[in-house]
Amino acid sequence: MHRAEAELLHHLTRRTFLGRSARGIGGLALGTLLTESLSAATRGQPGLPHFKPRAKRVLCLFQSGGLSHVDLFDDKPALHAHAGQEIPPSVKGSQRLTGMTSNQSAYPVVPPLRPGRRCGAHGTWISDLLPHHQRIADELCIVKSLHTEAINHDPAITFMNTGNQLPGYASIGAWVSYGLGSVNANLPAFIALVSQGTGKNPGQPIFSRLWGSGFLPASHQGVGLRPGAHPVLHLNNPPGVDRPQRRALLDDLARLNQAHAAELGDPETLARLEAYEMAFRMQTSVPELTDLSGESAATLDAYGPEVRKPGTYAANCLLARRLLERDVRFVQLFHRGWDQHIALSRQLPNQCRDVDQPTAALVEDLKRRGLLEDTLVLFATEFGRTVFSQGKLGDPAMGRDHHGRAFTVWLAGGGIKPGIEYGATDDFCYNITENPVHLRDLHATILHCLGIDHARFTHRFRGLNVRLTGVEEARVVKEILA
């Protein structure tokens, strides 16, 4: 392969090298063209990173549906004092609510479902629904002042994942893949894993645009990794075809393609040959990745019982660690079912049980293996939930509506200050009182940890230099950086 590429390069450029050295720069251009074709999938954009990165990889644990900051991270004495009472109009304000609660006659305050405790050196409050999070509090930077303009799922989750509420934009993972490229020649740079929550199944729908490439080249879209027979779609040889046989066929294919490419002067065919080789390598690298037989019982136990059930959030967490170990640039889990409009008391504990232990185990596992220091971990959702009830107070069917004005996410790992809280909400965890962080700021901060200045990281599309953080102001939240 490599010899053949070199030969072709020579064939294509020999005139330059032999007879036209005065214009050798043209040869350079051609060489660049060819090299770009051959390795565009693995190289990032020129000039990136802009500065020394603190993180090499990103792990995004996306809780789809709207995780309740009120119940899990943002308890306040006032919630108990005002339990069952109408939220003060001065707090609620007059801004819009979703069509699901905008017609309610009452908006009574509902305190967190379960008690919690202050944990870690900082004494941050975490619900007893997340006992394992309580244990790792010192690793987390909990941002309690995230906000978004979106108040419904589709626009909100699209906004959080692509920087725009409307479709057509590139996901964060695609941006990172595009900008920084891949450091693993055997696996894609961006891998997405989806699991169903047990609180609400199926949860709110999700969309391939959340890991899509939008206007960026499609080679940067997230590749799905699933349990079962097709961990990556079409990965397996068809029945009746074995690996040596496939190898031989690919060699024949390379022979035919190389000859033809040389005759026609076609660098794209060489790039295609390289893609076939990577596909062939993926046929072993993916099964090797998903084979958990080498994991110790202690490791498996740490992630909890569901780690043994392929396709669960727990199993995906363990896969995430294995992907990060292999230097996959951007790993994103989507866990569905965080949309507790109804039956909060039944659904929320289930959702928490799905994610709590595996998430904490993953953070600890990354730390133990020395990966946490250069992996940025983001535990995020598209919005929080209202402090007031949706439905009748006390009814088991009661839940909470969407709340974008203030909600909680946490970060950990590469470049992030551990064991802190940042930002605060009012007594009703309804409005932000200090250090607001717009989701654009979060995006800018993620890129910053990767050594990228969000303002300079652009892609030309439809006459604009488009960027992840869009056209509005965005700032790196320097205060949470280590």
């Binding site: 063209l33 419904n152 969309f207 496939r246 893609a275 043994r308 109804i342």
Partner: protein, 1054 residues
């Protein structure tokens, strides 16, 4: 489908050579006088206009550099630009300033002028700073065709090549040209025989005849449609949120027919923009008006209708801009455009044309089109009806007439099954661990066994998690028992079907007592049943561990709703008990493979009651069974008939049995599938179907400029109108969409014809004359051949907007017919081939790669149009992201089609926006959420995996090999030559043939050693294979076919 996207080379390396700069710069700066539009404006736009351009709100220092009057006007410190005097121009001084607080562009803009750009600006100022109107905003200028070539395209292209000192490439050889033009105009390759015949044709008019034949092919319309479907963001689902199904294929088929009919492009646009407003609008014109209904829509509860409507109209304006006008209008939704003179007012005046549509902000659920919709017949004229009717009649006849052999075999099997019925049967109660459903909370479990659904509701999928510990194995199936209750209407088993009126009354009286019992026996409909089992408990069904079901039986059934209906996960079929039955009723599902409670003690069963209208039971008891089910799926009359030994020889008995056999027997499934497919096809050509159209509301909404584009911040009222910076509508044009359409196609419009010509050019040459086909504005690229573009645009208008004529003109040029082989000099001088000194080469689009494989394999079913189809999918990607089980929306669960629907052209593949077809998406097909004008052409490992392993392509290899083995010449070499030529339209060279021989020999040896592997390989796909072919030989040839289908040349248009 541009060539492999290569980012621009770092300019620093190229100073002086300008290789990778926009095309205009391929000419060295000294070679031609500076042209403001080509050379200067792009630099100003990129670096200056964001703060010193059209957007008043964003303007700094009250300085505009985009209009001469302001840039050259006197200012306190002297003019910004002093014509003829760079040193005396503030702009120049700022550019060269060494001070960070003075230099322009300022450091925070992260923009740097290269030395060459500075020099251009300096030279331009020195030359008098001549401004010019933006080239694309003035009507095309008539130019005379340069001398030097008989064909106008060649004349323009060669004039430029001469300037550059380049010579055109020799003509492509006949076979390559045939393949190129066939793929370009029909999206399908020629056969090997076509290639030989064309190569041997000595008629000087052979190529013209070929082009005429391709343009007359019904596949021409399909080929042209694909690009327009991208632009129009056509899809089969609503897109937002739950992404339910919609029906818009009548519009898609209108597009195909319009191209095939060579509908003049101006009419093509007018009918799509305002077909509903034409006088005496025809059904066809109404269908056409669906163009601007292809936008995504939502019925997500909780979203705000006013906001949704703004999004819809914004998408329509954006699409109008990018697909028709070549303008990026979307910027002006929030503020005046930074680069082009599009004000927010202009934007909302365009918006106002669409804001009069009577659509609703939340609509389109349950597979019912969002309004306004009409029920109309297709415009396709395929002439198939007579043939379809004949085949349908023949199939019905064959299914109606008992086939004694089939009947005997079936009866023997069924008797054996009945004999085993209840063998070792035992029923085991199970412990219910948990019961849940996503959107309600009224489920209880009584005694740890009985699931109680306390309230009525429209529909629900109920997940029951059970513990099998203590149950003896192997468990062979699951039984669902539903007892009646005196509390239910008519003392029945369920709560439905309630009428829509009763549902509405109940919803209104929320929280109050249920409406009085209606006069019916309450029943339910189980629309789907799914089972998963595992070693780890889970509360809900595990999508990744679904257990296949061998069959279902029931204690009784309503003849219209037999138990087999719940094997289809969609909501439209299902089991309901016979209303005459009394006492508890039950359904039993037998697992394809029994399970051992000791290994997988945790069972999950999902019962989907998805039919709506409260067709839900009140109580459900779940059991598992061991042994053989004691029930049957045979009607009592059939069981009785089978009870008489040899009864099928009695014609009366046989008739009873055959009615059942014809409907259900596995042997006849292919015939039933074929019949159903043909009936669907006939209906799609003859019956009315719903399609979304444009209309004007009785009380049209008022349009206001929205501050920052926010629906909640309306400001002043505007009326519909066209942008102020473009020529006004023709006299007499109304202020409605028809007026807009008339403006778009008026001959003096500077954009419409150029944009159209450019897109058609791009289809044939890979890159447009304007490389940014959706953006002809300031930030777009200057045309590579501006005079040619104008000449073509004027010629196009003069021809009556004749698309086929234009394509004929382009493909008959020598420029198009050049060889695509690139010499090192050419690659070096013009890597992206913008000067066209060689033929264009690019990878085929996603659809055409699959179509190519279907064609050469002989599997392609070349029917044109009709409802979209669901070919193979390796995993239920829909259900993975959907809201299945808690919504009446369609397209929540994937159900594969069979028979001919597996082999239709790829543009008919069902396009679910949130989970687009993965084998097409791998090759850069867009998700059709928004207007797409340029697809990428990436090269990825996933593409290799699709071509090598997707069952669609594996099956194609198998069928392709079968064609080779049927080749009349029996020698290996002859067949290898044919296979290769059929795949790439040229015979193999000796060295290539040698490789193929080696492949064949090796694969023969491999499969001779392992015939079972050969059989396994040949099992791919649902099409039948000629069983007379020895499996090892067939499989070996299929590997050679795989090799040919994977050649880079096979998926490239050279």
């Amino acid at each position: 489908m541009k060539p492999y996207p290569v980012p621009p080379l770092p300019a620093s390396r190229l100073t002086g050579l300008l290789l990778a700069l926009p095309l205009a710069a391929v000419t060295t700066a000294a070679a031609a006088a500076l042209d403001y539009n080509r050379d200067v404006k792009p630099i100003l736009a990129e670096n200056c206009f964001a703060c010193h351009g059209f957007d008043e709100a964003g303007r700094k220092a009250k300085l505009r550099l985009d209009v001469a009057a302001e840039a050259l006007a006197p200012r306190a410190n002297g003019p910004a630009i002093k014509p003829g005097d760079a040193a005396g121009s503030e702009v120049w001084q700022r550019i060269i300033s060494p001070h960070a607080d003075e230099v322009m562009p300022p450091p925070e803009a992260h923009k740097t002028l290269t030395a060459a750009q500075r020099e251009t600006l300096r030279a331009w100022i020195e030359a008098g700073a001549p401004y010019a109107e933006h080239w694309a905003f003035v009507p095309p200028r008539a130019t005379s065709v340069p001398a030097g070539a008989p064909h106008p395209v060649d004349a323009f292209v060669r004039a430029r090549l001469r300037q550059e000192g380049l010579t055109p490439a020799p003509a492509a050889d006949a076979r390559a040209l045939l393949r190129r033009v066939s793929l370009d105009l029909t999206g399908l390759p020629p056969s090997a025989a076509d290639a030989e015949a064309f190569a041997a044709d000595r008629d000087p008019r052979a190529y013209e005849r070929l082009v005429a034949r391709l343009l007359a092919s019904p596949h021409f319309g399909e080929r042209l449609a694909v690009d327009w479907l991208d632009a129009a963001r056509y899809a089969d689902t609503n897109g937002f949120s739950i992404d339910g199904g919609r029906h818009q294929w009548l519009w898609r088929d209108w597009v195909i027919q319009a191209f095939n009919d060579n509908l003049p492009y101006d009419r093509f646009l007018v009918e799509q923009l305002a077909g509903d407003q034409l006088p005496d609008a025809t059904d066809s014109q109404l269908i056409a008006s669906g163009f601007q209904r292809n936008n995504m829509t939502t019925h997500e509860g909780g979203t705000i209708p006013e906001e949704n409507l703004v999004n819809y109209n914004a998408d329509r304006v954006k699409t109008l801009g990018e697909a028709v006008l070549g303008l990026t209008l979307a910027c002006a939704q929030c503020h005046d455009h930074k680069y082009d003179p599009v004000s927010a007012r202009d934007y909302y005046r365009l918006f106002a044309y669409y804001n009069r549509l009577g659509d609703r902000g939340l609509d389109g659920n349950a597979g019912v089109n969002a309004g306004p919709a009409r029920s109309l017949r297709t415009v396709l004229r395929t002439g198939e009806e007579a043939d379809l009717r004949a085949r349908i009649a023949a199939l019905r006849d064959s299914l109606a007439r008992p086939d004694p052999a089939v009947l005997r075999a079936w009866a023997a099997r069924e008797r054996a099954r009945l004999a085993r019925r209840g063998e070792g049967f035992a029923l085991h109660p199970v412990k219910v661990r948990q019961v849940s459903t996503p959107n309600r909370s009224d489920l209880d479990v009584e005694d740890g066994r009985v699931v109680v659904i306390r309230q009525a509701g429209d529909l629900a999928a109920i997940d029951i998690a059970v513990d099998l510990s203590g149950v003896p194995g192997p468990v062979t199936g699951v039984r669902v028992v539903v007892p009646p209750s005196p509390d239910l209407p008519g003392g029945g088993w369920g709560r439905g079907p309630v009428t829509r009126a009763a549902m509405a009354a109940k919803t209104k009286g929320k929280g109050k007592a249920a409406a009085p019992a209606e006069e019916f026996k309450g029943t339910f409909r189980l629309t789907a049943l799914a089972v998963s089992a595992g070693a780890v408990p889970g509360d809900q069904i595990d999508l990744h561990q679904l257990r296949a079901l061998a069959g279902v039986t029931a204690s009784s059934w309503d003849p219209a709703h037999p138990p087999a209906g719940c094997l289809d996960p969609r909501n439209d079929a299902g089991w309901s008990p016979d209303l005459a039955a009394t006492g508890p009723v039950h359904l039993t599902a037998t697992l394809a493979r029994p399970l051992q409670p000791a290994e997988t003690p945790f069972l999950n069963v999902q019962l989907n009651f998805g039919a709506g209208r409260s067709l839900l039971p009140e109580r459900v008891e779940l059991f598992v069974i061991t042994g053989t089910d004691d029930g049957t799926d045979l009607p009592a009359a059939v069981v009785a008939a089978l009870g008489r030994s040899g009864g099928e020889d009695d014609p009366a008995v046989a008739a009873v049995l055959w009615t059942h056999v014809a409907r259900y027997a596995a042997e006849l499934a292919p015939r039933r599938v074929e019949l159903a497919n043909l009936e669907d096809r006939l209906a799609s050509l003859t019956e009315p179907f719903s399609t979304m159209v444009m209309a004007v509301a009785d009380k049209p909404r008022e349009t206001r400029i929205l501050h920052r584009g926010d629906y909640a911040q309306p400001t002043e009222v505007v009326t519909a109108g066209t942008p102020a910076f473009l020529p006004p509508p023709p006299p007499g044009a109304a202020e409605d969409r028809l007026g807009l359409a008339q403006w778009v196609v008026m001959p003096g419009h500077p954009l419409t014809a150029r944009v159209a010509v450019n897109r058609l050019w791009r289809l044939l040459f890979g890159t447009g004359l304007v490389a940014t086909p959706a953006d002809f504005g300031t930030q777009g690229e200057f045309p590579s051949h501006p005079e040619l573009l104008d000449w073509l645009a004027l010629d196009f208008i003069a021809s009556g907007w004749d698309v086929k004529r234009l394509l004929t003109l382009l493909v008959t040029s020598e420029t198009y017919r050049q060889s695509a082989a690139a010499t090192p000099e050419q690659l070096e001088r013009d890597p992206r081939n913008r000067l066209l000194a060689r033929g264009p080469r690019f990878r085929l689009g996603a659809e055409f790669i699959r179509d190519h494989a279907l064609r050469v394999s002989g599997l392609l079913v070349p029917r044109v149009g009709g409802p979209s189809v669901n070919p193979y999918l390796p995993f239920d990607l829909w259900r993975e992201v959907s809201h299945y089980g808690s919504t009446p929306a369609t397209a929540q669960v994937f159900v594969q089609d069979h028979g001919e629907k597996l082999y239709r052209r790829s543009l008919y593949t069902y396009w679910k926006r949130t989970a687009p077809p993965p084998s097409l998406a791998a090759f850069d097909a867009p998700n059709r959420e928004v207007c797409t004008i340029e697809r990428g052409a990436t090269t990825t490992p996933l593409q290799a995996l699709v071509l090598l392993n997707d069952v669609q392509f594996v099956e194609a290899s198998r069928a392709f090999a079968e064609r080779a083995l049927r080749h009349p010449e029996r020698a290996d070499d002859a067949r290898l030559r044919w296979l290769f030529a059929e795949g790439v339209s040229r015979p193999p060279a000796a060295a290539e043939l040698a490789v193929l021989r080696g492949t064949l020999a090796r694969e023969r040896a491999r499969y001779a050693r392992d015939p079972a592997a050969a059989a396994a390989f040949l099992s791919a796909g649902e099409s039948s294979r000629d069983a007379r072919l020895p499996a090892p030989e067939h499989a070996a040839w299929a590997q050679v076919a795989t090799l040919v289908l994977n050649l880079s040349e096979a998926i490239t248009r050279n």
